[in-house]
């Protein structure tokens, strides 16, 4: 089964105008990238739908999208902005042991979207970083990969300041386990459906893991697994045009009817109706 997180080292930096000119389909439909994306709308109007939540575009907004989130950009006139896409492996090329900063980790099961309205001082800083990135990206100079890596880290550090997300250095043992659970959930929920699978991955007992997760988030571990699966089912319903049957198999259900029941009991509508809403 395919892992959601790609193992390639990818980095791309483009102006939105270029993207719309090159690939006509870029905006037309939902798509589900397997990399992180930073989309900065400098100027423009239209709609941006992320995980089925439709938002109006506002000038000077920066969206931080996680791998696997589906989105669709519908501009009404020409957009001015940038798109930076990169994989986790690209960030880690300099340092294997480096951990993802808080700004790039999904904290909860409803992987919320990070959106920032930039103020004047940040616009200048971020503009500088991104223009330098684009210049380096389109030119071939010595240590190109290294400088892009450095600039990306710089951008992320700026975002961490902007989002006001300061890392807790001394996370308690309980929080550490919870964070590990969430990150291993988002990378292997297609394979592992049992709390015990995650418990053995983290080398703790099943009951302890359940207790810890419930204490930190208020919901038991099984609930998180179910919600993550449901989220993926909704995403696939909208952006994957294949039949319900094949989606059920993709999500690791052995029996399509179990999947159908699961979907209906969680969302209240059945799969095909749900899909029609967003068609």
């Amino acid at each position: 089964m395919k892992n959601l997180h790609s193992s390639k080292t990818t980095f791309e930096a483009h102006m939105l105008q270029e993207l719309f000119n090159d690939k006509k389909n870029f905006a037309e439909d939902f798509y589900q990238p397997d990399v992180f994306e930073l989309i900065w709308i400098k100027k423009g109007s239209g709609y941006f739908t992320i995980d089925l939540e439709k938002r109006g575009l506002v000038d000077n907004t920066l969206y931080c999208l996680f791998p696997g989130q589906i989105h669709r950009l519908e501009p009404e006139d020409e957009l001015v902005g940038y798109r930076i896409a990169f994989s986790e492996d690209f960030l880690k090329t300099a340092n294997k042991g480096w951990q993802l900063p808080v700004v790039l980790t999904c904290q909860g099961f409803e992987s919320e979207t990070r959106v920032a309205w930039l103020d004047e001082t940040y616009i200048i800083e971020i503009d500088y970083i991104i223009t330098t990135m684009l210049w380096e990206y389109s030119n071939e100079h010595k240590l190109k990969k290294d400088i892009l890596n450095g600039l990306l880290h710089l951008l992320i550090a700026q975002l961490t300041c902007q989002f006001g997300l300061i890392e807790e250095r001394e996370a308690s043992q309980v929080n550490k386990i919870y964070n590990k659970f969430i990150s291993s959930l988002s990378s292997s929920f297609l394979l592992h459906k049992q709390v015990s699978d995650y418990a053995s991955e983290l080398s703790v007992s099943t009951s302890y893991l359940s207790e810890v997760v419930k204490r930190v988030s208020g919901f038991p571990a099984g609930y998180h697994i179910k919600q993550r699966l449901l989220l993926e089912a909704k995403r696939k319903a909208v952006c994957d045009s294949s039949s319900m049957k094949s989606i059920a198999y993709k999500l690791g259900f052995d029996d399509p009817s179990t999947f159908s029941k699961f979907f209906k009991s969680c969302t209240g509508t059945n799969f095909s109706e749900f899909r029609k809403q967003y068609a």
Binding site: N95, G97, I147, L151, L154
Partner: protein, 268 residues
């Protein structure tokens, strides 16, 4: 602004940026084992900038009329950012004491100037200090580009070839502690020949180079990964953890745990 005060606390700063006013003495002495980069221009002449890079413990003669900045950072910064192989910073013991480049290209001047200005603005006490590592990395790449064509002394003597072959062996990914005899066998020469060649080329013995390499690898693992001392010791070919612990302490003046604690702080 005068030269920033050097703190005497064991805590190590990732880098310091200091403005250089008119020189009082022409010698910038270095008391600490820091790499130093000088970014200078002559007063009234903005058409070109001067870049000096000095390795740890090297003295440097700066032009009297120049103003600009000094950026200093410990070797650990290079290890952290995985920049040890960037060109002017891959100092080999035998290479030139200081390096100099004159930069006339407007864009290059602006790029380096911008990064340094940003570094200088950052208050070390604020949360913004997390920008410093990546700013330093960008600066190091910019600097490295100016030493792109720095002439490498091609040493084609027998000793020189043997020395570079030996150094290449040590650069291998799966480096672990091996006695000099093992290297001699790998290079198909006798141990005396190898020792002589290395000593006459670099001024240091083969075992010194091996030791340096082990320490660098250990430091890198300590600050740039979450690995425990046990894991690091085994990876480097030490069978006995107590031995590795002592080896590290003797060669760096700090225990592994202290080292890890001190330098991981500047990165997080």
């Amino acid at each position: 602004m005068m030269k920033a005060e050097r703190s005497k606390l064991p805590e190590v700063q990732l880098l310091q940026v200091a403005a250089i006013p008119h020189q009082n003495g022409d010698q910038q002495l270095c008391r600490q084992s820091l790499y130093r980069v000088f970014w200078l221009h002559h007063e009234g002449d903005t058409s070109m900038s001067h870049l000096y890079v000095a390795g740890p413990g090297r003295n440097i003669n700066l032009p009297l009329t120049a103003v600009g900045y000094q950026i200093s950072f410990p070797e650990e910064a290079l290890i952290l950012l995985d920049c040890q192989h960037y060109e002017p910073f891959d100092f080999k013991p035998a290479s030139a004491a200081t390096l100099y480049a004159c930069i006339k290209n407007q864009k290059c001047c602006a790029d380096i100037g911008n990064v340094i200005a940003k570094m200088q603005k950052i208050d070390n006490a604020s949360e913004q200090k997390r920008l410093l590592p990546s700013l330093l990395k960008v600066l190091l790449v910019y600097i490295s580009r100016h030493f792109e064509n720095a002439p490498k002394q091609a040493d084609n003597s027998c000793e020189g070839i043997l020395y570079s072959a030996f150094m290449t062996l040590m650069e291998e990914k799966s480096f672990e502690r091996k006695p000099v005899t093992a290297y001699a066998r790998q290079l198909s020469v006798s141990i005396t020949t190898l020792n002589h060649a290395i000593k006459s080329t670099s001024g240091f013995t083969a075992s010194h180079h091996i030791q340096q390499r082990i320490i660098t690898k250990a430091k890198q693992a300590a600050i740039a990964s979450q690995a425990s001392m046990k894991e690091v010791a085994y990876e480097l070919g030490f069978q006995d953890i107590a031995h590795f612990s002592k080896y590290f302490r003797v060669n760096t003046g700090m225990t592994f745990t202290d080292y890890k604690r001190n330098f991981q702080m500047i990165y997080s």
